[in-house]
């Protein structure tokens, strides 16, 4: 019993220690490159918490990251690596905005419809690699990589040829489909924080519920761990693979809808990937594919990215430092063996005394 508790505690300790190491390394890099780490980190933290506006922006920023993290984690639990979250998010963004522009309806219908549109588009984008994996055993990693590019080019094509409004974007969506919130914006001093943040929290809960509390979730996890035993136990492995990729895609698609309906209220021609999907991989990993973990790591990443700008402005530290810190944190989390080893060393020394 105590052992189990220890294990759980450790599960929380490791990311924390990794984060500590990450920042330590970041500090060293600042020192080497001739910056003052204390000034740097103070600026970073101020850039997150120093102003309610920044804090609101951090929450806004973490909203799509939560979804892309959930998407990666959901597929991961079923033994699939969904690198296609980026593309699923892009089509979700586009379709939700399309619904937001084209349809006129009262908010109570329109907004859910637009989000659903994003979910369905993302689900479709996940469905394709799912089917190919299930039906032809095609490696999902390649297909999802390819689907990312297809998503970007197809969406750009549609915007450019049919929906271009000004500059590189579509028209604004109708207010009835917008997640933007005057209230949330007002309490955070005009930040772009929107209702999507609450939807993201609900989504965390939803994923936890699906995976751990439902029959389907049981099957998905079972298939993820052992396909053979699952089909022996009467589960339809192929169907579960397709379902998993589709649901994962739907999470990503809703993430896109958050950007389209909440942050920007339009879609624009993408000159390159948004990276929101790729960041989702890191978020899911740091959050060890659990709902709470994803929420917290999305906050960390969102905060770091928000704060990086302030670090640049106030302390003159190149914002790439934050990327380095994020990378190192992931390394340390992944190498938890090292942390365990150090911990056991410290522990045995203590016992020796």
């Amino acid at each position: 019993m105590t052992n189990m508790f220890k294990g759980k505690l450790f599960g929380i300790m490791i990311p924390l220690i990794a984060i500590g190491f990450g920042f330590l390394a970041g500090g060293i890099i600042m020192l080497i490159s001739g910056n003052n780490p204390i000034t740097g980190y103070v600026a970073l933290i101020q850039g997150i918490f120093g102003d309610i506006y920044y804090f609101g922006e951090t929450l806004q920023r973490m909203t799509p990251l939560i979804f892309s993290g959930l998407a990666v984690a959901f597929a991961f639990r079923t033994g699939l690596l969904n690198i296609g979250v980026e593309g699923q998010l892009i089509v979700g963004w586009f379709v939700s905005v399309l619904v937001g522009i084209v349809i006129e309806a009262p908010m109570i219908i329109h907004l859910p419809l637009a989000i659903l549109g994003g979910a369905l588009a993302g689900a479709l984008w996940g469905f394709v690699p799912g089917v190919l994996k299930a039906r032809f055993q095609v490696h999902e990693v390649i297909v999802t990589i390819m689907m990312n590019y297809i998503a970007m080019h197809v969406v750009n094509h549609f915007i450019r040829n049919y929906m271009l409004e000004s500059g590189q974007r579509t028209a604004f969506i109708n207010d009835s489909a917008s997640l933007s919130s005057d209230y949330l914006s007002a309490i955070t001093d005009f930040s772009r924080l929107h209702w999507g943040f609450l939807i993201a929290i609900a989504a965390c809960f939803l994923m936890w519920f699906i995976l751990w509390k439902t029959k389907k979730g049981f099957e998905l996890r079972s298939v993820g761990y052992n396909k053979h035993a699952s089909s022996y136990a009467g589960m339809n492995v192929n169907l579960n693979i397709i379902l998993s990729m589709s649901v994962s895609g739907a999470f990503a698609g809703v993430g896109g809808a958050m950007v389209g309906l909440g942050t920007y209220n339009y879609a624009n021609i993408l000159p390159g990937f948004t990276n929101l999907g790729f960041d989702g991989i890191a978020v899911a990993l740091l959050g060890s594919s659990t709902s709470i973990g994803i929420f917290l790591s999305a906050f960390l990443f969102g905060g770091l990215k928000e704060g990086a700008n302030n670090m640049q402005g106030q302390a003159g530290v190149a914002p790439e430092l934050v990327e380095i810190i994020i990378a190192l944190i992931i390394f340390f989390v992944a190498s938890s063996y090292l942390i365990r080893w150090i911990y056991s060393r410290v522990q045995s020394k203590k016992e020796g005394k």
Binding site: I29, I145, I150, H157, E320, L321, A334
Partner: protein
């Protein structure tokens, strides 16, 4: 007929040039994955290679090495790529990190670190442009052969031939030498290899570092021949395409070679299509997504299931069962 040939004379060399960095990097991936270590970090290794290649070239240029500089830049990239890959190696081999996680981290780290250094060194977001370049050449005699000459031996980079020669060398090393046999055994059944006295982790370190060397070379070749300088956006997705080529090619050097050429060809076609009679009116989006759609169709249609090395993505712990 003549028109078709004219088009082929443009597209085939373009395809080979586009295939070159992919092929080199895929060979790197092959070493790593054949030893049992997934390498999603190929992208990051290419970034590192592109950075090192350009900075190295600039450095040797400034020392007055002239047209030897880019070649020395490539050497720098090979070495730095191998060193940088140690991050992935230490994490995923010695520290038993999840290999996918570690690879993803490597990608983040490469972009962050290189751009950070570029800022520190050049005081801006990209390096200067190199002036000593590797240029296209016409191969003496061979380029005069009708049809084949203009397609395969005219206006090509030496690096392309080197890449293809290396792929053959890789095949030889992996399938004909004791080293190759041991490397593959470590990727298939590390415990079996261990009982045969093969140092599993050492082989895996070598595999990953070779992937760093090749990935670094791939990135450097791209940066030096095509981009001319280095910035955060110099390498955008080529590493992932190389990984796709590796899987597409079923972890075999020649398979990966075929896949890389295929990608190169699709890309070249998509770019040149607008200027090819008959294709110029096809909406550009079709051409843009062509390489990716073709890849998916090929995988679903005729390539079929690819069997990865059995121990791929599994850390080796002595005595674990």
């Amino acid at each position: 007929m003549d028109m078709t040939l004219q088009i082929l004379y443009t597209i085939v060399p373009a395809a080979l040039i586009a295939a070159t960095p992919l092929l080199l990097t895929a060979m790197g991936g092959l070493f790593s994955e054949r030893s049992g270590i997934v390498n999603i970090g190929l992208e990051g290794l290419m970034v590192m290679g592109a950075f090192a290649g350009i900075v190295g070239t600039l450095f040797f240029e400034s020392l007055g090495f002239g047209f030897a500089s880019p070649w020395m830049g490539i050497l720098v990239a090979i070495v730095l790529g191998a060193i940088f890959s140690l991050f992935h190696a230490v994490a995923s081999i010695s520290l038993r990190a999840d290999q996918i996680v570690s690879g993803v981290a490597l990608n983040f780290l490469a972009v962050g670190l290189t751009v950070f250094i570029v800022r520190e060194v050049f005081d801006k977001g990209q390096t200067d442009t190199i002036s000593a370049r590797i240029f296209r050449i016409n191969v003496p005699f061979l380029s005069d052969i009708p049809i084949i000459g203009p397609m395969f031996f005219s206006r090509v980079y030496l690096t392309t031939y080197i890449a293809f020669a290396l792929a053959i060398l890789v095949w030889y090393v992996v399938f004909k030498t004791p080293f190759g046999l041991r490397l593959r055994s470590v990727g298939e059944h590390p415990m079996a290899a261990d009982t045969m006295g093969i140092k599993v982790n050492r082989m895996r370190y070598i595999g990953v570092m070779l992937s760093g060397a090749f990935g670094g070379m791939g990135g450097a070749v791209y940066a030096i021949t095509t981009a001319g300088n280095f910035a955060g956006g110099t390498i955008t997705g080529q590493g992932f395409m190389a990984l796709a080529a590796l899987i597409f090619g079923k972890w075999h050097p020649f398979g990966a070679m075929g896949a890389a050429v295929f990608f190169g060809f699709a890309q070249a076609l998509s770019i040149s299509a607008q200027q090819i009679p008959g294709l110029e009116n096809v909406p550009q989006v079709y051409m843009l997504i062509l390489p990716y759609v073709l890849t998916i169709l090929a995988l679903a249609g005729f390539v079929g299931k690819a069997e990865p090395p059995k121990a791929l993505n599994q850390p080796y712990e002595k005595g674990s069962r």
